[in-house]
């Protein structure tokens, strides 16, 4: 009986430990999750909604968080999947317009700012035309806080595959942009 009680006590201690501090998680990862979601959605409001959804999911599964090996990768994966799912319901083209205009408007004359915004928009359009795997790797690499191993775990691929996809994505994007410039 004593051993049973001791076992159950150990069990309760482990379950108490499994209840992570959500406030700490929000402080540590909300910025990263926002950038991950923003790379897919290119909208601040939509990306914030995704971050909130991620932490609501964490709250719902807080008792099983003890089994999560890498909290950072796990959260990024949830945010990535939620953002990709939300992307199907929003019009990204309008958000790309605003994002491109915001990139080009830093201290330039109006005509040059307009031209540069058009180029940014062209880059975003060509990124969207990339194959899905290449586009995903390129967007995750743009966040610049995830290593190859972490990107591989988020996307469910091997590290070598992620490297190859990233190389192909950059090459293809450059070629297409050059072709587009040549046509003009």
């Amino acid at each position: 009986m004593e051993s049973v009680e001791g076992l159950s006590l150990v069990g309760t201690m482990e379950s108490e430990r499994a209840e992570v501090d959500l406030a700490e998680l929000v402080g540590a990862y909300s910025g990263l999750l926002f950038r991950v979601a923003h790379s897919v959605l290119r909208s601040g409001a939509e990306a914030e909604d995704v971050v909130q959804d991620v932490f609501v999911r964490v709250l719902e599964h807080r008792r099983s968080l003890g089994g999560v090996r890498d909290m950072r990768v796990w959260l990024v994966r949830i945010a990535w999947n939620l953002a990709v799912d939300r992307r199907r319901r929003v019009r990204v083209e309008q958000m790309d317009d605003e994002f491109a205009a915001g990139l080009a408007a830093a201290g330039l004359p109006a005509d040059r700012a307009l031209d540069e915004a058009r180029r940014m928009k062209a880059v975003l359009e060509e990124m969207e035309r990339l194959p899905k795997a290449e586009r995903s790797v390129l967007l995750l690499s743009a966040v610049d806080e995830l290593g190859t191993a972490e990107m591989a775990e988020v996307l469910g691929r091997s590290e070598s595959a992620v490297r190859a996809l990233l190389f192909r994505a950059r090459t293809r994007l450059r070629e297409r942009l050059e072709m587009r410039e040549g046509r003009r």
């Binding site: 959500l22 929000v26 909300s30 950038r35 932490f55 609501v56 719902e60 915001g102 390129l138």
Partner: protein, 268 residues
């Protein structure tokens, strides 16, 4: 002029350097607080995790479960024993006499007014028959005393016949045909009657056409011979040799036109 590489790097840098809106963390935490409150109200923890550190609570739960199990076993047993005892000493519901019904339904509006009574009613779907059992009257009738016995009696009562099934399409067609009363169609239903009808038709046909040739020569020869004689005084230029030539035409017309024509010839 910006090169494609530069534009690409600038876009990727823009995606990297984007900053979360101000107050996002606070909003997320507020949302989580609200969600945690909602979950706390509706959430429950398994009993074995709650009782793990409290042996007293565990013993109380085990003993409570044992009592519940005993009660759950005892109730059906009591019902079974009581039901068999009552059923053995009870008359069937069909024997409820008019005295019991009268005791239940009398006075204003048909409601019993003297003494406490229980009335249980069941209106059957098919015939609209109503079984009424009243406390005192029913006990006089056969010992139906409480709701359990009423339920048992209803269960044991003779079932009422089901309402008739609707007619099929073929049955409706047959019904329509029979009620029209057409003899030929009726005869089609019975091969013997059909054969009889055919035989009657044939006999009538033969009778009709068999009579006509027998009658015609006798009836037509005399008028045919008389006709030229009657026609001559009228002044028509008819030679005696032409009269026989008209007779076959008359016969043909009578054969074609039937009895009324023959009668007209005879009358002429």
């Amino acid at each position: 002029m910006m090169r494609p590489d530069d534009a690409m790097e600038k876009v990727l840098a823009g995606l990297r350097d984007v900053e979360a809106p101000a107050g996002m963390e606070r909003r997320v935490l507020e949302l989580l607080e609200g969600a945690a409150e909602v979950q706390g109200k509706g959430s429950w923890r398994p009993l074995w995790t709650m009782t793990a550190a409290r042996p007293g609570l565990r013993m109380a739960l085990v003993s409570g479960a044992a009592v519940l199990a005993a009660v759950a076993l005892a109730i059906p047993m009591m019902h079974w024993l009581g039901g068999t005892a009552r059923v053995s000493g009870r008359a069937p519901v069909a024997n409820l006499n008019a005295k019991g019904i009268d005791g239940a339904v009398r006075g204003n509006g048909g409601v019993a007014v003297d003494g406490p009574r229980r009335v249980a009613e069941r209106v059957s779907g098919a015939g609209g028959a109503r079984i009424v059992s009243a406390g005192a009257g029913a006990e006089e009738a056969g010992g139906v005393s409480d709701m359990d016995s009423v339920a048992m009696s209803e269960m044991k009562a003779a079932s009422f016949p089901a309402p008739p099934m609707p007619l099929t399409e073929q049955e409706r067609l047959l019904l329509r045909m029979v009620h029209r009363g057409d003899q030929v169609e009726l005869a089609m239903l019975d091969p013997k009657a059909e054969a009889l009808q055919d035989a009657e038709d044939k006999a009538e046909f033969q009778r009709f056409f068999a009579k006509a040739p027998v009658k015609d020569p006798a009836a037509e020869v005399a008028p045919a011979q008389d006709a030229p004689e009657q026609a001559a005084p009228s002044g028509d230029q008819v030679s005696p040799g032409e009269a026989p030539a008209e007779e076959p035409k008359r016969e043909e017309s009578t054969m074609k036109q039937g009895v009324p024509q023959v009668k007209t010839v005879e009358s002429q």
